[in-house]
Symmetry: C2
Subunit: 332 residues, 2 copies
């Protein structure tokens, strides 16, 4: 694929989601690596293609995991200065935070990075945060969910637009493969840094990338495409089911000050797939930290199917069933 | 797990699907290998557990792929005679059929085997055909679909009951792992044959079994369980979406002698996931051989979204859109 076709493809993704109108202010999360350096330059190309100007800012986090990360920040700062763009940087001691919080370095790194990006975008007046996840990342993310165990939710992969923080996070490259990004960088003679931990298969993500995907490709060379397409089609399917769940919730759940009430008979008419999701929605609305296990779900489905009186608790939530009525409330 | 717990688990699967009532006549597809030998003995155990008698018949196909297959048929015949059960066998020259029909040996073998099983079940008066697919097979089957490229349909895996032929095909072992079956065979001191082609990774299925699953297990040792559970939850979700598709079809499609008609405006109100499936259903009802590609689907979604006049063909089917009406008919 030539550079023009690549720019058109990224532009197509952005247009589909009505993203980056004229004079948008976009904060680009950059590591200095190939993906985010390609994103930086592609967004400049998109602005030229659309005959507009964007305010682009570049933000890099030093995670203190590799000794060379300090130098990479300086290298990127020079690149960004030469381009005349705004530059933001900060340092987190991710290894220490990881130990203190008993979370993996990947998880902690992601949390502090996105939180800081959101703060900078806020204080410096950016409309969007752009990140460089591409089609290969998408397939790896879906596989990671599949391996850990998931339902439909995990198979959708990452969204082009997500709203986990105040400022929307945008992924313009989800329809572009890593190979295409590398070809773009080579074609434009652009330089980038290489993260030495990318080949370390102690990291789960690298094991998926370097061991599992190549095995899958030996059966279907286009497996990355196939998995990314699955993500898109599952997103469409999930939209239908989520919508039905919201409708069922509104129709079936009576909300009082201290409790929620449902009719067993009415619930029984709903398909099992909707019942499971309705229960998750109901529990989350009382305690946002609750994720129902399959065992919890079976217990709740069982309550609906039998007519017996029953009482049990799931974490902070009490569920009692008597005659046709199920009551759900917080114990505290 | 001990033998009693295993029998209870298989019994649970059968009860959930109201299978094998008293005096059922069950034709067991057997290869002489561990899975189907375990199935044979487990169905005898289930009969005893339920204090009933089944008429069990054992059917084996010699696929003429391995030199030792003739001996395995004789070995199995001796086993079955000793148990006093009915025995059926036949030979197909699968390698030659595979070349003639330009299909893989796996595909041809499966086709001729199921067709013959169905014929025997018919002529000999069996109510069910039982096959030995277990939980590991289920996970492999779901992965095979994922790798080749699939939507929700391929992620459901194999069903406990399927109706592809006249006589229902039953899979009583879908909730049991291979390891549990081997433990059962060892515990009961039962013998079986080993298929030498099982380790040949030129076969796609063996590559999934011996290369891919172990890699996935290095990340999550319970990955087989996780994938099999995904299959169950996807089946529930798909039931909801299929049901909505049937309803939309009945509401939106007008069927005349020679054509089907739809309103663009009405179709546009349906979610994309339903539109795609409605088109597949509509095309299959005209020509059962048609499987719409993603490109076909996009073309059809596009017709719905624009108001323009358009005409195009997909294989034997012509689609014309003018004003609000889309007409679909067979060219012949």
């Amino acid at each position: 694929m030539n550079v023009k076709a690549l720019i058109r493809r990224v532009n197509h993704t952005l247009k589909l989601h009505k993203l980056f109108p004229e004079h948008s202010r976009i904060l680009i999360a950059c590591s200095g690596g190939p993906d985010s350096m390609a994103l930086l330059h592609l967004l400049q190309d998109i602005a030229a293609h659309r005959h507009t100007k964007y305010k682009l800012g570049i933000a890099i986090v030093d995670h203190s995991i590799r000794p060379e990360s300090k130098d990479e920040v300086l290298w990127l700062q020079n690149q960004v200065d030469a381009l005349g763009l705004s530059f933001y940087t900060t340092t987190f001691d991710v290894p220490t935070l990881s130990k203190d919080l008993k979370l993996s370095e990947e998880t902690v790194g992601r949390q502090v990075r996105y939180q800081w990006l959101n703060e900078i975008a806020h204080s410096e007046g950016y409309d969007y945060i752009a990140v460089a996840h591409h089609k290969d990342d998408q397939a790896e993310s879906i596989l990671a969910h599949l391996i850990r165990g998931t339902g439909l939710n995990g198979l959708t992969g990452m969204a082009v637009v997500s709203h986990d923080y105040d400022i929307p996070v945008i992924r313009p490259l989800l329809d572009v493969t890593k190979e295409e990004l590398l070809a773009y960088l080579a074609d434009r003679k652009l330089t980038y840094c290489i993260d030495s931990t990318n080949d370390d298969i102690r990291y789960q993500r690298n094991r998926i990338r370097h061991r599992i995907i190549p095995e899958l490709e030996s059966i279907n060379p286009n497996v990355v495409d196939a998995i990314a397409r699955l993500g898109c089609s599952v997103s469409e399917d999930l939209a239908v089911i989520s919508n039905l769940t919201v409708q069922a919730f509104e129709r079936l759940v009576t909300i009082d000050k201290n409790e929620m009430r449902l009719s067993r008979k009415a619930l029984r008419k709903e398909p099992v797939a909707i019942q499971r999701r309705l229960w998750q929605r109901l529990m989350s609305s009382i305690d946002s930290d609750i994720t129902l296990t399959t065992a919890h779900q079976e217990q709740l489905l069982d309550i609906v199917n039998t007519g017996e009186g029953k009482t049990f608790t799931i974490k902070s939530i009490k569920v009692t069933a008597q005659c046709d009525t199920i009551k759900v409330y917080c114990k505290h």
